[in-house]
C-alpha cells in the first residue's frame, strides 16, 4: 500500500468498527459560546493536563517507592539522590499537584459565581465536587508517603478528625489508619489508596463528569439564558482546542520551571514516639481547615469543641455538594446571596491560611533533612539547556497555534465548518 493510502484505509477500518466519525462530528458541532465567561472554560482542561502529568510521574515514583516503616523515608531519599533525575520527577509530581489544586479551586469558584450548576447541570456540579474530594484525598494520602515528621503529625490529625463524629466516626478513623493509631499499617494503606483506589475512583467519576459536560453543552451567561439571546460561538474542535493548547503549553513550561528551581526537600524519617514538631502544617490547601480546628475552644456549650468544628465542616461540605438543589431558582434569578457566600468562602479560606502561615514557624534546624537539586555541574547545565529548549519550543508552537487559531476562526466565520449555527441544542 502506498504511503498515502494506508492512513485513510486504517481510519476507515477503525471508523467502521468504532464509529469515530460520529465522535469527531459531535466535537466539531459542539458550540462553545463566546462571551466574557469563555475564559473560565479553559480551567477544566488545565486540570486534566496536570492530572495526566501526575499519572506519568506517579508511575515512575511508584517504581522506586517502598511503603513500609523502615524503607519509606529512605526510598524517597533514594529517589532524590540515586535515581537519575529522580528529584526532578518527584518535584514535578509535587508541583503538578499544587497547580492542579489551584486550578480545581479556580474552576469551582468560577462555576459557583457564574451559576453554571443550575438546571440541567446539577449532576455535573455534584460529580465535580466528588472529583474535588478525590483530588484533596490524593493530596492528603500523598503527603504521608515520604514519612517525615511533618507528614506524620499531619496524618495523625487528619485521620483523627472523623473520630469526632458520633457513632460512625470511630470506624472511619480505624479504617483509615488500619487500627487504633497511625502506624506502618497506615502507611501501606495510604499508599494503596493513593496509587490504586483513588485513581480508579477519579477516572470513573471523571468519565461521568466529562460525559455530562458533552451531553448538556456549555452553560451561557445568565442574561443570555434568560433572553434566549444568541451569542457568538465557535466549534469546540478545532477553534477551542487550539486555543486551549496554547494554555497547556505555557502551563507545562511554568510547571517544569518551578519544578527545576524549587524542588521539595525531605524531612527526617518520622518517629512514631517523637513529639510533634513545632510549627507543623498540612499542605497549603488544608491550612484553612487546620486553622479552623485551632480556633475552636475545648468546650462549646455541651459539645466538645472538635466535634462542633467537625460538624460545622461537614455541614459546609454538604451545603457545597447540594448547592444546585438549594439554589434551584429559574435562570432569571441572579442568586446574589450565593455569590456573596462564594466570595465569603474565598475570603475566609485566604484569611485563615494567611493566619496559619503567620503562626509558629518550624524551629531553625528542625528541618535538617535532605534538600533536592542538581547533583553536579553537568546536571545543572543540562537543566538550563533543557529549560531553554522547552521554552523555545513552547514559544514556537504557541506562535504556530496562533496562526492556526486565526485560520480556523476565519474558516468558521466563512461558515466552512458549518458548526452549530444553533448555539444551543436544548
Amino acid at each position: 500500500m502506498s504511503a498515502r493510502g494506508w492512513w485513510p484505509a486504517l481510519r476507515r477500518w477503525l471508523d467502521d468498527r468504532l464509529g469515530l466519525e460520529a465522535v469527531l462530528g459531535f466535537l466539531r458541532n459542539k458550540p462553545v459560546p463566546r462571551s466574557g465567561h469563555t475564559i473560565w472554560m479553559y480551567t477544566g482542561s488545565a486540570i486534566l493536563i496536570f492530572f495526566a502529568v501526575q499519572v506519568v510521574t506517579g508511575v515512575v515514583l511508584a517504581f522506586y517507592y517502598r511503603p513500609t516503616l523502615e524503607e519509606a523515608n529512605a526510598s524517597v531519599a533514594r529517589i532524590m539522590t540515586d535515581v537519575p533525575l529522580g528529584w526532578v520527577v518527584r518535584s514535578i509530581h509535587s508541583w503538578s499537584a499544587t497547580f492542579m489544586i489551584v486550578f480545581v479551586f479556580i474552576h469551582l469558584v468560577s462555576i459557583w459565581i457564574l451559576k453554571s450548576y443550575r438546571k440541567p447541570r446539577e449532576l455535573t456540579w455534584m460529580t465535580g465536587v466528588l472529583l474535588l474530594f478525590c483530588a484533596l484525598f490524593f493530596g492528603f494520602t500523598g503527603y504521608l508517603l515520604p514519612w517525615d515528621d511533618l507528614s506524620l503529625s499531619a496524618t495523625k490529625v487528619g485521620t483523627d478528625i472523623p473520630r469526632a463524629l458520633p457513632v460512625i466516626g470511630d470506624f472511619f478513623t480505624k479504617l483509615l489508619r488500619g487500627g487504633e493509631d497511625v502506624s506502618g499499617e497506615t502507611l501501606s494503606r495510604f499508599f494503596t489508596i493513593h496509587v490504586s483506589i483513588l485513581p480508579l475512583a477519579l477516572l470513573a467519576v471523571l468519565a461521568l463528569h466529562v460525559f455530562l459536560i458533552q451531553k448538556l453543552g456549555m452553560s451561557l451567561p445568565l442574561e443570555a439564558e434568560v433572553n434566549k439571546k444568541r451569542l457568538p460561538h465557535f466549534p469546540f474542535w478545532p477553534n477551542f482546542v487550539f486555543r486551549e493548547a496554547v494554555l497547556w503549553l505555557v502551563l507545562f513550561g511554568v510547571l517544569l520551571t518551578a519544578a527545576f528551581f524549587l524542588p521539595p526537600g525531605l524531612g527526617r524519617a518520622a518517629d512514631l514516639r517523637a513529639p510533634a514538631p513545632e510549627g507543623i502544617k498540612p499542605e497549603w490547601y488544608f491550612l484553612f481547615l487546620f486553622q479552623t480546628l485551632k480556633i475552636f475552644p475545648a468546650k462549646v456549650w455541651f459539645l466538645k469543641g472538635e466535634t462542633l468544628a467537625v460538624l460545622c465542616i461537614l455541614a459546609g461540605v454538604l451545603f457545597f455538594f447540594f448547592v444546585p438543589l438549594i439554589d434551584n431558582k429559574p435562570a432569571s434569578r441572579k442568586g446574589k446571596i450565593l455569590t456573596v457566600v462564594a466570595w465569603l468562602f474565598v475570603v475566609y479560606a485566604l484569611a485563615m491560611s494567611a493566619w496559619s502561615l503567620a503562626g509558629p514557624k518550624p524551629a531553625a534546624g528542625a528541618e535538617e533533612g535532605l534538600s533536592a537539586g542538581p547533583r553536579s555541574a553537568g546536571e545543572r547545565t543540562g537543566m538550563y539547556v533543557f529549560l531553554a529548549w522547552t521554552w523555545t519550543m513552547i514559544v514556537f508552537l504557541a506562535f504556530v497555534l496562533r496562526g492556526k487559531v486565526r485560520e480556523v476562526d476565519k474558516l468558521h466565520a466563512a461558515g466552512f465548518f458549518g458548526a452549530g449555527d444553533d448555539p444551543h441544542r436544548k
Binding site: 503529625s153 495523625k156 490529625v157 485521620t159 483523627d160 478528625i161 480505624k174 479504617l175 488500619g178 487500627g179 487504633e180 493509631d181 497511625v182 502506624s183 499499617e185 512514631l272 514516639r273 517523637a274 513529639p275 510533634a276 514538631p277 513545632e278 510549627g279 507543623i280 480546628l293 485551632k294 475552636f296 475552644p297 475545648a298 468546650k299 466538645k304 469543641g305 472538635e306 509558629p360
Partner: protein
C-alpha cells in the same frame, strides 16, 4: 372478609421478597470485607522498664519511655512514687512534648497545653492526658493500663 380490590398484588409481594433477599445477600457479602479491613491491635497490659534507666531522677523530673508505639512520660513524684502519662494529645492525637522549664506538656499541632498533672489547661484539648498506673517491682518499674474508673 374478602377485599374487593387488593393494594398489594402477589407479583409485588414476590418481587419485594426477591429484591429484599438479593439485597440482604449482597449486604452480607460486605461483612467479611469490613471485618478484614481493620487489623487486630491490642494495647499492652503492661510495660516493664529497667529501674536503672530512671535512677537519679530528681523529684518532679520527667523522662520519656515507650508505651508500645506511643510515647509515655514517667515522672518521679515528691513522695518517691511515680506518675505516668500517655504522651498523646486528647485533641487530635498528636504526640506532646514536656517542657521542663515550664513544667508543662505542650502539643505543637494546635497549641494545646497541659500542666504537670496532665490537666488540660489551655488550647483545644478537651480532656486531661491519659494516666497509667506505675508500681515498682524489684529492679523494674512496671507501667500498667489504669483500670477504668
Amino acid at each position: 372478609m374478602k377485599l374487593k380490590t387488593t393494594l398489594f398484588t402477589r407479583r409485588k409481594f414476590l418481587n419485594g421478597l426477591l429484591a429484599g433477599g438479593l439485597g440482604s445477600f449482597l449486604a452480607s457479602l460486605l461483612f467479611p470485607l469490613l471485618r478484614s479491613v481493620i487489623p487486630p491491635y491490642k494495647e499492652p497490659d503492661e510495660v516493664r522498664l529497667p529501674g536503672a534507666d530512671f535512677e537519679g531522677l530528681a523529684e518532679g523530673e520527667v523522662r520519656g519511655f515507650a508505651w508500645d508505639i506511643k510515647p509515655g512520660f514517667l515522672r518521679k513524684d515528691a513522695g518517691g512514687g511515680w506518675t505516668a502519662f500517655v504522651g498523646v494529645c486528647t485533641h487530635l492525637d498528636c504526640n506532646v512534648s514536656f517542657l521542663a522549664a515550664e513544667k508543662k506538656y505542650f502539643c505543637a499541632c494546635h497549641d494545646g497545653w497541659y500542666d504537670a498533672e496532665g490537666r488540660n489547661i489551655a488550647g483545644p484539648p478537651p480532656a486531661p492526658l491519659r494516666r497509667l498506673s506505675v508500681s515498682v517491682e524489684g529492679a523494674e518499674i512496671v507501667v500498667r493500663k489504669e483500670p477504668p474508673s
